[in-house]
């Protein structure tokens, strides 16, 4: 490698220095030689992700219906105005927040408990962990139908039979408590993800510090609150933010378990936009909603990106 070999105190600083130095010393030809390997991936990504998004913005300013391709009419911000007055959109936005935060927080709490349990040495620990990560490896479409049919069906679902054993009447989960039903499937799927991240954090604890604490007479509880918890914080934050990024786009479970119903009671934003575009054929409205979702996502994404960058900086090559 032709860049700095000094051990800079801060990795980020080293990278900045390298960039500054490169900009001054690299010849024009060398700079293009370096860009060469990057360009195919960069251009491909721009073409496939950014151009459709620009088209989305264009559509959002038009009244356009898939069934009448010629009905293209410029309407300015009228579609956005309609969204403000659309109570179903607001409901879907609230559902998105409830489903995302509910899933991520419950999965994280369960994940921490399971990770702490798995961090103890016991016989068959590898088997227990393998069993626990399996829900995350099931195809989301498969786990959606598994939950809505085999587990939650009102007549032959296993959960109703189980609560029937203690004398509770069968519940039609997906129509009476649609969001709870969706959350069951989602939490089941995402808890292993959180558990794996927290477990990786627990196992990355510096052992000499733990030994020192033990030698100094710190009990398990003190060790946990003073050493383990601060150490885990970064992993928990990363898990929560990655979880939000993945879960906010949930579509499979809603499409297959409740179809957004009853009515629109359990539709989240991705599902509602899908409905407007592919069942209502209202391209302009759907596009405008897409733009609104992107703007909302940017705020969450900024926080996530800052955190991910920080996590990476820790092990940046210096």
């Amino acid at each position: 490698m032709t860049t700095l070999t000094t051990q800079a105190a801060s990795a980020r600083r080293a990278q900045e220095l390298r960039a500054v130095r490169d900009e001054h010393t690299l010849s024009r030809a060398e700079r293009w030689r370096r860009r060469g390997p990057l360009l195919p991936a960069l251009l491909f990504t721009i073409a496939v992700t950014q151009i459709p998004f620009l088209v989305t913005i264009w559509y959002s300013l038009h009244s356009r219906n898939l069934l009448r391709p010629d009905s293209d009419l410029f309407v300015g911000f009228a579609n956005y105005g309609d969204i403000v007055g659309d109570s179903t959109f607001r409901g879907a936005a609230v559902n998105s927040v409830v489903i995302t935060l509910g899933c991520v927080l419950v999965a994280m709490v369960l994940g921490i408990v399971l990770a702490l349990l798995l961090d103890r040495p016991f016989r068959g620990r590898g088997v227990a962990r393998t069993l626990l990560i399996t829900p995350f490896l099931i195809m989301p479409v498969a786990s959606s139908v598994l939950w809505s049919m085999a587990m939650l069906n009102p007549t032959y679902g296993l959960l109703n039979w189980t609560i029937g054993l203690v004398g509770i009447d069968p519940v039609d989960w997906t129509s009476t408590y649609p969001i709870v039903a969706i959350l069951m499937a989602l939490v089941w799927q995402w808890t292993p993800f959180m558990m794996l991240l927290v477990l990786a954090g627990l196992q990355a604890q510096p052992k000499d510090v733990l030994e020192a604490a033990s030698v100094d007479g710190a009990g398990p509880w003190r060790t946990f609150t003073w050493i383990t918890m601060p150490h885990l914080r970064r992993y928990v934050e990363l898990g929560v933010l990655l979880g939000i990024i993945y879960v906010v786009n949930t579509f499979d479970q809603i499409y297959l378990m409740t179809a957004g119903g009853p009515g629109t009671a359990s539709a989240n934003l991705p599902f509602y936009i899908y409905q407007r575009a592919f069942l209502g054929f209202d391209i302009g409205q759907a596009a405008a909603m897409g733009v609104v979702v992107v703007i909302a996502t940017i705020f969450v994404a900024m926080a996530a990106l800052r955190l991910i960058f920080r996590s990476f900086d820790v092990k940046e090559r210096s």
Partner: protein
């Protein structure tokens, strides 16, 4: 760290509890029992799905549930017989997109780590920001453009989209692996007179082969499981395995056992790969941030 990680916790007291040994041991046993109860509880729906797949339809949707039955392979036979086209489509979409992701992503990661371009941070930021763009925000134009190009219900449309979907993850992951290659190794290769291509092929690639495998695993999982694009952009010709699962749900008659057989077979490749590569899974899902 697959199955028998050395116990790093042995230096720590086993559990919160009293100072006296017997009491601590009891607590430990209870915690272990709790762990097993939770592990089996989490796994149980999967086991139930697998059991149901071996039942006859009437046993699958009986109330009370059927726990003891004579296993049958009827459902699997039916599923295997009907799913040929779907499996072939999924294999093309998953396989080709993963190869494309690696071909595009590894050189890009190289240009963001070993011999970096200017503004590495900005480029990385751009790649990851496309992962946060909600798919619903682009599905409408993609559908319209694909319609105009006459590539709706065409498997190569999914190949292109799955490549774009996984490329940012691959760039980030491969960069984190390439950064672990010691600078001295690359310097030694260039002192020995190895050119760029030779350095890449005989020095770099063998060193990051495990990283490439991990990256490919994550791309395969995401492409194999993808449902939203497949649902909206395919019909009869290019439909993939997730679409097949949905198609086994019919409005008439019982279908739960067949559905479970399809769901089990569809999930099996990822389950097995994930069991084998648990550590790579963590690193991939955190886009390289956690090792």
């Amino acid at each position: 760290m697959t199955t028998t990680a050395p116990a790093p916790t042995s230096t720590r007291p086993a559990a919160p509890g009293g100072a006296r040994r017997p009491r601590r041991r009891t607590t430990g046993t209870l915690l272990t029992a709790l762990t097993w109860i939770l592990a089996i509880g989490f796994f149980f729906p999967v086991a139930w799905m697998a059991m149901t797949a071996f039942k006859q339809e009437s046993q699958a949707s009986s109330n009370p549930p059927t726990f003891f039955f004579e296993p049958t392979l009827d459902q699997f036979r039916a599923v295997v017989g009907e799913s040929g086209t779907y499996v072939a489509n999924s294999l093309i979409a998953t396989g080709v997109s993963t190869v494309l992701v690696l071909l595009l992503g590894i050189p890009a990661a190289y240009a963001l780590s070993i011999r970096p371009v200017e503004k590495v941070g900005d480029v990385l930021f751009f790649f990851i920001s496309t992962k946060m763009l909600p798919v619903v925000a682009v599905i409408v134009p993609i559908y319209v453009i694909a319609g105009q190009l006459r590539v709706l219900d065409n498997i190569w449309t999914l190949v292109v989209l799955y490549t774009a979907m996984n490329l940012p993850i691959a760039v980030w992951m491969m960069r984190s692996f390439l950064q672990e290659v010691p600078a001295e190794v690359l310097e030694a290769a260039s002192v020995d007179g190895a050119g760029l291509l030779r350095t890449m092929r005989s020095v770099l690639l063998p060193m990051v082969a495990p990283g490439i495998a991990a990256t490919a695993l994550i791309c395969v999982i995401f492409a194999w499981n993808e449902f939203f694009f497949a649902l909206n952009l395919t019909a009869s010709q290019a439909a993939t395995v997730p679409i097949f699962i949905v198609s086994t749900m019919t409005s008439e008659g019982l279908f739960l056992a067949r559905l479970c057989a399809a769901a089990l077979l569809a999930s099996l490749p990822v389950i097995i790969a994930g069991w084998i590569a648990q550590k790579q899974l963590v690193r991939g899902l955190s886009m390289g941030a956690i090792k």
